[in-house]
């Protein structure tokens, strides 16, 4: 077997057996399922109409019809004492009093027995408004007008670019790429962490010398990156499949929320950014791992790369609302920030094709440069312990060898 394939298979096996890898891979989809299930359960309880019975006393004499308002059944009481007794005996869940001067003030008093949080509060209020409107408009307005009065606004956003062409905006797509960006970061952090931890361990336990007498530094680097990358990719595939299931479940539980899957072209761009991002980060982190003496030191140093990569997440609002600024373009093209910036901008669809091509091109070029440079650093520093070389010394190593 080719040495790169041997190393990759070994790294893949070792990574898949890591407890932390298994826990994170399983835990994220589980958390997503639990969150969706909780939201669904809360919404489900909102929709349960059989539970809510509201008593009312009408001092105006105007509100006698339309008492069935999903999910609330309004029950008229003439005697205030009977009404209070019904509330206390749980004959009704709440009691409304519509006073004489309602038409002048719009005030309605609500009585409830204190039992903590009322989960039906918002739907109950909507039902009361509907009940009042139906009675007030009866005989005065057409049914469609009354319906529109109840829901006067359903805002639909349309965005135009500078030429006046409609730019489509899709909340589901925004969410998809935002989640993909976060997954990219989580996966990069873990995969990169495993890579430098493995290198650090091999330096610490001194098996590195045996490895370097068997394979070239370049083969070792590529084998490790591919093996751990394969583990990271399998993690992402599990997450994406689980994500699609979550979207299906969520769509049925939350019909009002627009959760659509973006078109395959956009997903392909997202995956390309993901893969190139991983290759770039992994190569840089491997280089950092080779110049430090221990896994701990490597992980401390890796923050130099992982923290700046998150800048597009911190500046997400700015990037989305100012797609044509120099800062946004810089973050899109700068290799360290490009992968996550691309994800952030793919969501709202604010990327021009040339921007995508330039960003991916710079990323690919950076990966190629790092794949040429890092093996030289590997060879020079993998067997060195003690003083860490400075940037100038590293530069000389890359140029000379």
């Amino acid at each position: 077997m080719n040495p790169i394939a041997t190393i990759a298979a070994h790294e893949l096996t070792v990574t898949l057996r890591r407890r932390i890898f298994q826990v994170v891979t399983v835990a994220l989809p589980l958390i997503a399922f639990v969150v969706v299930a909780i939201i669904g359960a809360v919404q489900g309880s909102d929709d349960d109409p059989s539970e809510v019975r509201a008593g009312y006393i009408d001092m105006t004499g105007l509100f006698t019809e339309f008492r069935a308002q999903e999910p609330v059944q309004f029950i008229l009481f003439d005697d205030p004492e009977q009404a209070i007794e019904a509330l206390l005996n749980e004959g009704v869940d709440r009691l409304f009093i519509i006073p004489h001067d309602y038409m002048a003030t719009g005030v309605v008093q609500r009585y409830e027995v204190s039992q903590g949080i009322d989960v039906n509060g918002s739907s109950g209020d909507a039902a009361l408004k509907s009940f009042l409107l139906d009675n007030l408009a009866a005989g005065e307005l057409e049914a469609t007008t009354v319906e529109r009065l109840k829901n006067p606004l359903s805002l639909s956003n349309v965005r135009l670019d500078e030429e006046g062409v409609i730019r489509d905006f899709d909340g589901g797509r925004l969410l998809f790429f935002m989640v993909l960006g976060i997954l990219l970061f989580i996966s990069l952090t873990f995969s990169g962490g495993f890579l430098i931890q493995g290198l650090g361990e091999e330096k610490e336990n001194r098996i590195m010398e045996v490895l370097l007498s068997s394979v070239t530094p370049g083969q070792l680097l590529v084998g490790k990156i591919l093996g751990i990358g394969a583990a990271g990719l399998s993690q992402i595939v599990i997450w994406v499949v689980a994500g699609l299931v979550v979207i299906q479940v969520a769509s049925s539980l939350l019909p009002d929320v627009n959760l659509s899957v973006p078109n395959p072209g956009l997903i392909a761009i997202g995956l390309a950014a993901f893969l190139l991002g991983y290759l770039l980060f992994a190569t840089i982190l491997a280089g950092l791992g080779s110049i430090t003496s221990s896994a701990k030191e490597s992980q401390q140093l890796s923050v130099v790369v992982t923290l700046p990569s998150l800048i597009p997440v911190y500046g997400m609002t700015f990037i989305i609302s100012h797609p044509d600024t120099l800062a946004t373009r810089f973050l899109t093209f700068f290799p360290i920030t490009a992968p996550i910036a691309l994800m952030v901008r793919l969501g709202p669809g604010s990327l021009e094709p040339w921007e995508i091509a330039t960003s991916l091109g710079i990323l690919a070029l950076s990966v190629a440069i790092m794949l040429l440079a890092v093996p030289k650093v590997f060879r020079a520093y993998l067997l060195m312990y003690g003083k860490r070389p400075g940037p100038r010394e590293l530069w000389r190593t890359v140029i000379r060898s």
Partner: protein
Amino acid sequence: MTAAVEAISICKSFGSGRSGRLVVDDVSFSVQPGEVLGVVGPNGAGKTTAIRMVLNVIRPDSGQVLLFGEPFTDLHRPNLGYLPEERGLYKDQKVLPTLEYLGALKGLEKQDARDSAGAMLERLGMAQHAGAKVAELSKGMSQLIQLAAAIQHRPSLVVLDEPFSGLDPVNVRLVKEVLAETRANGAATILSTHQMNQVEEMCDRVMMINFGRVVLHGTLDEVRGNFGEGSMVVEMDGNPNDVPGLEHLVEKVVDHGSYHELVLRPGTDSNRVLRTLAENSGQVRRFEVASLPLEEVFVRVVKGDS
């Protein structure tokens, strides 16, 4: 016959400018198939760096290393076996899979790697530990596993850096037997060690490095011969240390049980020692003039250099 290794004027320095240090300075040597070259020298002399250059783990700044008559290529890697001085294995992994992985990196097919790893474990008396994690093994056992990793793929060149350190006498003997078999199969061996008795016992030639330079190189007899007849073997009644006047002539007395070895002070005439012994002690049953022990050669060269 083509040498398994031929190092020609190799140099290596680390760092640059004022902090730069020449670690290996114009070192040349060769090892023939089936030959064992002992590499000795004090700590920090440049032995390990020279060895790493032979294995192409690091590259010389100048000079050249030829393996089997040609410059190093990746095709040579499967023919190399290496036991580094600072040893370690994947602690959380099991013995057999570790050997299989290291064997596969040397180009063995999966089944071959498994078979040869199993056979080596059997030969080294470690077969019952094949399923154990490396962390569960003693230091000596772990060292045997690493020796297995170095030779399981039947390399043509074996480089061993301190192979006996930390081993008990039984395992020292076992390792010697295994290395003798490797040598009998035609492998060239470079043995770096501080244990001069092992060099005297196992090596055909010896090379001493100090401050990065070769200070002695040749067969054992040649190297010891450079220092003249520097010692004597004596069988006598009593202890030579008790003989009056001998302390001015002899630097050190080594007790070998049935006989004593007297290391003479530089310039001492052996006849004068014999006369002193005859005049001041009981019966001298045996008196032989011998070369200086390698350890003494080592000490004198290092002291002289420093």
